[in-house]
C-alpha cells in the first residue's frame, strides 16, 4: 500500500468504517511506515480532544420557551386564517346567491317557453308587464284623489 492511499484510510480506520481486508492492509502499512503512523497518532489525538471537550446542555427552561414559541407560532397562523376566513365565507355566500338568481331566471324563462301556446303566449307575457297593473284604481285613495283634482286618467 502506498502512503497516499494509506493516508486516505486513516479517518475511516479510526471511525471503524473500513472492511476486514482494508484494515489488514492498512495495519501492515502503518507498522512499516513511520510517517503514516505519526499521522495516525495525531488524528487519534484530535479525536481524543473532541471526546474530552465539554458537551453543552440546553439552558434551563429551554423546552418551556420552545413550547411558548410553538403556541405563538400556531396563534399567528390562526390569526392569519381568521383574517381571510370572513372574506372567503362572504365570497362563497355571494356566489351562491348569484347562482340561485341565475337558476331562477333561466328556469322561469324555460317554464314560460315550454308552457305557453301561441294563443296564450301574448297573454302570459302581458301578465308580467308593468302596464298590467292599474296605477290608481277608481275606488282607491289615489283614484279618489285623481277624481277630485281632475288628474288625467291614462287608462
Amino acid at each position: 500500500m502506498k502512503c497516499k492511499y494509506a493516508k486516505k484510510l486513516i479517518s475511516p480506520y479510526i471511525d471503524g468504517e473500513l472492511t476486514g481486508a482494508e484494515i489488514n492492509q492498512f495495519i501492515e502499512h502503518i507498522e512499516v511506515c513511520a510517517e503514516c503512523r505519526h499521522e495516525l497518532e495525531e488524528t487519534k489525538d484530535l479525536s481524543r480532544m473532541f471526546a474530552s471537550a465539554e458537551r453543552a446542555s440546553a439552558p434551563y427552561g429551554f423546552n418551556t420557551r420552545v413550547l411558548a414559541e410553538v403556541a405563538a407560532d400556531k396563534n399567528s397562523w390562526n390569526r392569519l386564517s381568521n383574517i381571510f376566513r370572513p372574506f372567503f365565507v362572504r365570497a362563497a355566500e355571494a356566489a351562491f346567491a348569484c347562482i340561485i338568481v341565475i337558476v331562477g331566471i333561466i328556469s322561469g324563462s324555460m317554464l314560460i317557453t315550454k308552457t305557453a301556446t301561441p294563443a296564450n303566449a301574448v297573454e302570459i307575457r302581458t301578465a308580467f308587464h308593468l302596464d298590467a297593473f292599474e296605477a290608481a284604481p277608481p275606488d282607491s285613495l289615489g283614484g279618489v284623489y285623481f277624481a277630485i283634482t281632475g288628474a288625467p286618467d291614462e287608462k
Binding site: 468504517e17 453543552a56 429551554f62
Partner: protein, 178 residues
C-alpha cells in the same frame, strides 16, 4: 417511550408528546448548534428554530425515517442559514465564546474540558462550512458515515473525503494543543 409512539401521540393531538420530544433531544440539538455556531445565544436561537420548524412539519413526518436524523438535518440547515444571515450582516466569529450550561465534573476536569472546547470551537470556525458540518456530526455526535450522508444529503464517499480533509485542517490548527 420511543420516537414512533411520541410521533403517533403528537399526530393524535397530544401536545405533551411534543414536549417529550423536545426534552429528549434538546441537549443533543443545542450541543450540535453550539459547535456549529460557537455563540451560545445564536445556538439557543437556532435550536429553538429547529424545534419550531420540526413542530410545523411533524404531521408530515414519515415513521419510516429516524426522528433524530431528521431533527439533525433541520438543525444543521438552521445553523447554516443562521451563519449565512450573520455573515451578510456583521460577524464576530472570533469573539470569546460564552460560558455554556453543562454537566459539571471536577474543577480541574471542567477547566481542562472548557479550554479544550474553546480551542476546538475556535478551530472549527476556521475551516469551511461543509467540512465543519461533517466533522461535528462525526466527532461531536458520533454518527456513522451513512447517517451523516443522510443528514447532509451527500454520498458516503463525500462524507469520507470531507472528514479526512476536516481532520487534516484541524490537525494543523490544533497541533500545539495535543
Amino acid at each position: 417511550m420511543d420516537d414512533i409512539d411520541l410521533i403517533r401521540k403528537f399526530k393524535h393531538g397530544e401536545a405533551a408528546a411534543f414536549n417529550d420530544i423536545v426534552l429528549k433531544y434538546q441537549d443533543r440539538i443545542f450541543n450540535l448548534c453550539i459547535y456549529m455556531l460557537r455563540d451560545a445565544h445564536d445556538a439557543q436561537d437556532a435550536a429553538q428554530d429547529c424545534f419550531i420548524k420540526a413542530c410545523r412539519a411533524l404531521h408530515d413526518f414519515s415513521p419510516d425515517a429516524s426522528l433524530y436524523t431528521w431533527l439533525y438535518r433541520i438543525a444543521m440547515n438552521t445553523c447554516l442559514d443562521s451563519r449565512r444571515k450573520r455573515s451578510r450582516g456583521q460577524t464576530d466569529s472570533d469573539s470569546t465564546p460564552e460560558d455554556l450550561p453543562s454537566p459539571q465534573p471536577s474543577p480541574e476536569k471542567l477547566y481542562e474540558s472548557k479550554e479544550i472546547s474553546a480551542a476546538v470551537r475556535g478551530a472549527l470556525q476556521k475551516i469551511p462550512e461543509k467540512l465543519r458540518a461533517t466533522i461535528v456530526l462525526r466527532e461531536i455526535e458520533g454518527l456513522s458515515y451513512e447517517e451523516i450522508a443522510e443528514i447532509l444529503d451527500i454520498s458516503s464517499g463525500t462524507v469520507k473525503s470531507r472528514i479526512s480533509r476536516a481532520r487534516e485542517e484541524l490537525r494543523s490548527l490544533l497541533r500545539h494543543k495535543f
